[in-house]
Symmetry: C2
Subunit: 302 residues, 2 copies
């Protein structure tokens, strides 16, 4: 079933102990769409500037990614520059040039309005809510990502938007900041009162955790010897997770657990190379092999 | 099969946001022995002072814990005082009074010398090696814990001792410090060259990871809403892990995975209350129920 994503398509300059790239395609919606497209057709809503060329757009071609909602406007695309620490766990933002993204007003093409699976990547909460209004009826599943900036500066807008989403998908520190609870179990209870019935916490090198009324599910991060660049890992996780759910068409506990695994699989591939380099060449067979590897990582028999 | 533990029996003063105790029995060997005794008979080697009373010793009675190796000498027992931060993740040491522990020279009673399973809790590496020399023949399994103090100050002694152990069981930061590698997969490779064939990394609220030549196994921490006191969690983990192995009498991958789970189960109970309060009243049925809960936390079917 078609999966709508609204978020950023951007250019990044990235530096880690493993190398440096000065200009590479990035953005949450890009990582999400490419990752999700391995499982289900994706409808993309984003905005780019004149620096976004046919060569950049090529990444969406030949995949099940509809780009009718990719708006092009005069000016430059969103640009982000960051540098990772020796251990890849910390990063310094060197530049955040919003450019055309500053005026982003997501507009869903008519054919997107029937989307049943919706992912609201990290953008202003009022825009996220506006996207939900443009979707016809109630989506089968709406998930949302956000960040400290919105939690701090537009908290009431975010709270209003959260009333309308099923899954909140954020990292440890965002979970703690939003709920004002260090303990993630108590944090989840707070967040359930805000609207979402499922909390997915992305924990970087520690994996991911899902909490809902049925219980808790944990999946570790894939142990890589040479992670190169964490950029986009969380968005790739979200893409694998939502893509798997959109393809599965049911929301059973067993399906959500598998979605967590496939999200982790996609996230783990992304960090293997810079930017989108690994996802560009990723094969379905590799995805399934790594999912089986995740089973080996975690399974035991009492 | 009998399991030998050599380490500290101490008194602790503990403070966390959940409360405060001024004087409670603690020490790595105490937590280890109590946790392991749910699975296998334990032989304890430690030293205490005159402040250690029959009331304190009662914790070992009625369990399969042999205290012939618990030496009593004039003076005070090892005393540690610590205070945990709001989130329990950081702690400040307020006092470390080694007292009689400063002169600790582990002496194995004759009947302990046939031990086939040996756990060397966190003491000076030369003493750990001396214990191994006192054991007759080569133990079936020797595991060792250590800390930053020994890694920094007695590195070559530690390296010498590591040549003779099978399992190194330490936390994230110790793993990184010892191997000089941030990445845990590369750290494991370094550590295998030092002697151990298995690395167990204790990661606190993120669970534990085991790496050996057969692969990697990850187990999450049990999600608790109200952890009270992390003191002894790692030692209880080690006790559950080694106790399970000593009872299982084989070292297959499947057995080691189950040992990781039972280690996590024991660690998770310990943090529920202050000091040994939870382990004192713990029942075998609760252990098995929580192990099944760990399965629920992690299992999925592709």
């Amino acid at each position: 079933m078609s999966l709508l994503v609204v978020g950023s398509v951007a250019f990044d300059a990235l530096e880690s102990p493993y190398g440096k790239v000065d200009w590479t395609l990035g953005g949450a919606a890009t990582y999400f769409a490419v990752a999700a497209s391995f499982f289900a057709p994706v409808s993309l809503v984003a905005v780019v500037g004149e620096d976004f060329t046919a060569k950049d757009e090529a990444i969406f071609k030949g995949r099940h990614i509809d780009t009718e909602g990719l708006e092009r406007v005069p000016g430059k695309s969103f640009f982000w520059a960051g540098k990772y620490s020796e251990n890849l766990n910390e990063r310094v933002t060197l530049a955040t040039d919003l450019n055309v993204f500053a005026g982003f007003q997501p507009k869903l093409p008519e054919k997107y309005r029937a989307s049943k699976y919706v992912f609201l990547a990290n953008i202003a909460p009022d825009l996220q809510r506006d996207v939900l209004h443009q979707v016809k009826g109630t989506p089968k599943l709406a998930a949302l990502d956000t960040m400290n900036y919105w939690i701090e500066r537009t908290n009431s807008e975010l709270r209003e938007t959260l009333k309308h989403v099923d899954i909140l998908m954020i990292n440890d520190s965002e979970t703690r900041q939003l709920s004002n609870e260090h303990n993630l179990m108590r944090a989840a209870k707070h967040i359930f009162k805000m609207g979402p019935s499922t909390l997915v916490v992305k924990r970087g090198e520690y994996g991911a955790m899902m909490v809902d009324k049925r219980g808790v599910f944990c999946v570790p991060a894939f142990p890589l010897e040479e992670p190169h660049d964490p950029t986009g890992a969380g968005d790739s996780f979200a893409g694998g997770f939502m893509g798997y759910l959109a393809a599965a068409k049911n929301l059973s506990d067993a399906t959500l657990r598998k979605a967590m695994v496939y999200g982790s699989v996609l996230g783990s591939f992304t960090v293997e190379k810079f930017g989108l380099d690994r996802l560009r060449v990723l094969k379905r067979s590799e995805i399934h092999a790594r999912a089986r590897h995740f089973a080996k990582l975690t399974q035991f028999k009492l």
